[in-house]
């Protein structure tokens, strides 16, 4: 058997696991989706198909439960948000699908989205607490307005200033002395900063999304087997940290 256009795959992580989940990603998005190959019966079936990007396959340990992230765009925002699909009982005749779509349910403000830079992951909560899945939340900027003719440049170069004039412009970097991150480091970390997200937890059974992070200047660590997380927050100590001095943190459960 040959299966084409597989962009990602994951075997069911159990001792008797026989299911192989695959993301299909084709040019033009036609036929994109999630497919399941059952190695015991040598059968292939389509779990879901839609003209969008799928990624982040993850099986829950010792189960037939699977999650995947898929992109969703609209005409108001720049870039996609992520919808989380969770199937339980994938190996059965009728798997159950539960979906986290933060845009439909209004779980997040319209200026925020679920990002794909932090993979959705199953969490190890206490027995009886229901399934929890960690995701990342970040700002969702509005789509930039189309440039008007006569001012500024665009990707096609129309309206752009002549190259000679651009070379005459001086570079001016303004760094406030109270800024705890020096300019050179800010420049280096631009790309990483754009991928930053706040950790959040989706409670599947109650379909509730709780954003745990409040700033990027903290570490949030879920505690295994509990519904608590430890937060080490260092906003008050950023200047000390910037010069390699003492790193002081505050600790909070959440």
């Amino acid at each position: 058997m040959t299966i084409g256009n597989v962009t990602e795959f994951a075997w069911q992580p159990t001792d008797t696991g026989r299911l192989l989940a695959m993301v299909i990603g084709a040019d033009g998005q036609a036929g994109n989706g999630v497919q399941i190959y059952d190695a015991a019966t040598s059968t292939l079936r389509v779990l879901e198909t839609a003209p969008t990007e799928y990624a982040g396959l993850s099986w829950r340990d010792d189960s037939q439960d699977l999650l995947v992230m898929k992109s969703k765009t609209d005409d108001k925002h720049d870039g996609p948000t992520q919808v989380i699909d969770v199937w339980t009982g994938v190996g059965t005749a009728a798997p159950t699908l539960v979906t986290l779509d933060s845009t439909v349910a209004g779980m997040l403000p319209p200026t925020q989205r679920i990002v794909n830079s932090r993979r959705a992951a199953w969490m190890n909560g206490p027995a009886g607490a229901g399934q929890m899945i960690s995701v990342g939340v970040a700002d969702w900027p509005a789509k930039p307005a189309a440039p008007e003719g006569g001012r500024g440049g665009n990707a096609n170069g129309r309206g752009a200033a002549p190259a000679a004039a651009a070379n005459d412009k001086a570079d001016v970097d303004v760094w406030h002395w109270n800024d705890p991150i020096v300019m050179a480091r800010q420049k280096l970390s631009v790309a990483a900063d754009r991928r930053r997200s706040l950790p959040a937890v989706w409670h599947v059974s109650s379909n509730k999304l709780v954003v745990l992070g409040k700033s990027f200047d903290e570490n949030v660590s879920p505690i295994r087997g509990t519904t608590l997380a430890l937060v080490s927050e260092f906003t008050p100590y950023l200047m000390d940290r910037s010069i390699g001095r003492e790193r002081r943190t505050s600790i909070w459960p959440t």
């Binding site: 709780v210 003492e246 943190t249 600790i251």
Partner: protein
């Protein structure tokens, strides 16, 4: 993680906190000592105040006034104790600081060797088994390294056997 609400446990501490394997305690370092926080009672305890060794790497060239610690190896079953490193050895220190004992005795030898426990737990997040742990060994003077096993106070086998010939 059900509400997102936060409760202050401890302000102005010297390191990030990490949770114990069983989720009963958090541990952090401050002023050259390890402290635990009982997450049920919020009690904060200096667990290394009475231990007759130093867990601080005073030879570090870090520019921070707070010297780095040698580190935490892990927690034992049911969060009974945390295993901490000094310069040469691993120590089992109870979560409330009431007891402390060496797991290895590499620092007591004539030519001290730095021993660090190999965590062979099949899954991350499992408790540390220190009943007879395998250790990595490094001689700060000889620069030789190897593996050993620490039953009680004695290192068996492979002491300072070089891995690189």
């Amino acid at each position: 993680m059900t509400t997102g609400q936060r409760t202050l446990l401890k302000k102005d501490v010297g390191s990030n906190a990490s949770a114990s394997t069983g989720g009963k305690y958090a541990i952090f370092a401050d002023n050259g000592h390890y402290w635990t926080i009982n997450l049920a009672t919020k009690a904060v305890t200096n667990i290394t105040a009475a231990v007759k060794t130093s867990f601080v790497d005073v030879e570090s060239d870090s520019t921070s006034p707070e010297r780095p610690m040698f580190g935490v190896a892990g927690w034992t079953k049911n969060d009974e104790a945390v295993v901490l490193y000094d310069k040469y050895d691993a120590w089992r220190v109870s979560a409330d600081g009431s007891t402390a004992a060496r797991v290895t005795s590499c620092g007591l030898e004539k030519d001290p060797v730095r021993c660090r426990i190999l965590n062979l737990a099949p899954q991350p997040g499992e408790p540390l088994d220190i009943s007879s742990p395998f250790v990595t060994m490094f001689g700060p003077t000889s620069k030789k390294s190897g593996y050993g096993r620490s039953p009680g106070r004695r290192i068996d086998h492979a002491r300072e056997d070089s891995l690189d010939g």
